[in-house]
């Protein structure tokens, strides 16, 4: 069963052609890492999957919902598709616990008791229970990202999109976050699509690697073969550059 299907998808920002003829199928339970140079369209691709960006041509089906159809209810789609952002995007007006409890309460209408228990359990899972009543401004970037992951998990998503979840973090915070992401992807059987520049992490967590350049998917391979030896020269160059850094 496929979770995501791109069929000849084109995306334009005005006249700028950001995604060229994307064809891609991701099955349920896969962990796919998306890499590529800056401006290659990774964020754009990931953001089309939950409808944060619209597509102009082609067909895009996510969890059975047709995103190319303007009548598709994006709110229903998104309640099954979580997203973790580079800059966390925690609600600044709510404390950590409320950040996690808000969507389950007003979108899924979970009973308050159950919601609170779930939120506290998730905070335990990411190691932040004692920060439950702090505001986002009072915790570190790494902690914010772990809260953001807990917030996403609280909706029990079938698919999680990560857009450079550690790029905005200080080096010493990155590992804690990657650890949590690994735990989530390993344990849950959830589908994950992860944009990252952390190649060590990518190697460990991914079943499959997609390499993009200039709005196109240049390479799509299982993780092992890709990291052993990318097929295209473009990907080889990219890998050697990023690993030597």
């Amino acid at each position: 069963m496929s979770m995501i299907e791109f069929h000849n998808v084109q995306k334009f920002y005005g006249h700028f052609h950001a995604l060229h003829d994307i064809n891609l199928e991701i099955d349920q339970g896969e962990t796919v890492v998306l890499i590529g140079p800056s401006g290659s369209g990774k964020s754009t691709l990931v953001r089309t999957v939950n409808g944060l960006e619209s597509i102009q041509k082609g067909k895009l089906i996510v969890n059975g919902h047709d995103l190319s159809d303007p009548k598709t209810n994006l709110n229903i789609l998104r309640s099954d598709v979580g997203m973790v952002f580079q800059h966390f995007n925690l609600y600044k007006n709510k404390d950590v616990l409320e950040n996690i409890m808000l969507a389950p309460r007003i979108v899924s209408h979970i009973p308050e008791e159950e919601n609170k228990k779930q939120a506290l359990d998730l905070l335990d899972m990411v190691g932040l229970r004692k920060w439950a009543h702090n505001m986002p401004s009072q915790i570190s970037g790494g902690q914010k990202q772990r809260v953001a992951i807990a917030r996403t998990l609280a909706m029990k998503p079938k698919l999680i999109l990560y857009d450079e979840p550690t790029s905005a973090l200080d080096p010493e915070m990155i590992d804690d976050v990657l650890q949590v992401i690994k735990k989530v992807t390993n344990e849950s059987g959830m589908t994950s699509l992860i944009v990252t520049h952390e190649m060590g992490f990518a190697k460990e967590v991914a079943n499959r690697v997609i390499f993009m350049d200039q709005g196109r998917i240049v390479e799509d391979d299982d993780s092992e073969s890709f990291f052993k030896q990318p097929k295209t020269e473009r990907a080889q160059q990219f890998l050697s550059k990023i690993i030597s850094h």
Partner: protein, 217 residues
Amino acid sequence: MQNWINAFSWLNVRFLLMGLWVTIYISVISVILSFIFGSILGIIRYSKIKYVSQVVGFVIDIIRNIPLLLIIFFTYFGLPNFGLRPETIPAAIIAMTVFESSMIAEIVRSGIQSVSVGQMEGARSTGMSFVQALWHVVLPQAYKNMVPAIISQFVSLIKDTSLATIIVVPEMMQHAQVIYGQNANYILPMFAALAVLYFVVCFTLSIIGNVIGKHLS
């Protein structure tokens, strides 16, 4: 000196305070109405609803760039042509509300825009509707940022009620004119009294605004 004492006879002071009461009455009602309408219009303009937001934006821009005095004239002398004949006080309230709503709408729109798009995207990505995301996440942050701008707009509103004297609304400024109209020696004392009274009212509002601002943050 005798002029000042005579100017502030009990009768005159009472008359002036009656004017103050009308000024406050017009102000309070206009503040409440323009806060409500201004917020709705600002949110509509921000929401980019096809056609609706553009029309609202266009009207707001027109109103914001017309002198309030002219809007007061339109309401009082123009509306009768459309079969509405408001009394002076309602006319003043309508004019103030129309003008101030469009000012507040712009404050609200830019207040919402000052909240980073990530807040909206974070909320929408969990499945919240646009309205839910606005209500629970974006607007509380936006209004917190907007308190100073809104308060200073309402301070202008109070001062601008004095323009309503032009259609003989029995507010403070107009009552002062009646008083010094009887005796030119009262001009200076009345101006002084007006300055003090407007200051007290507006400054009180500023203090209330600061308290609200502190409370929110």
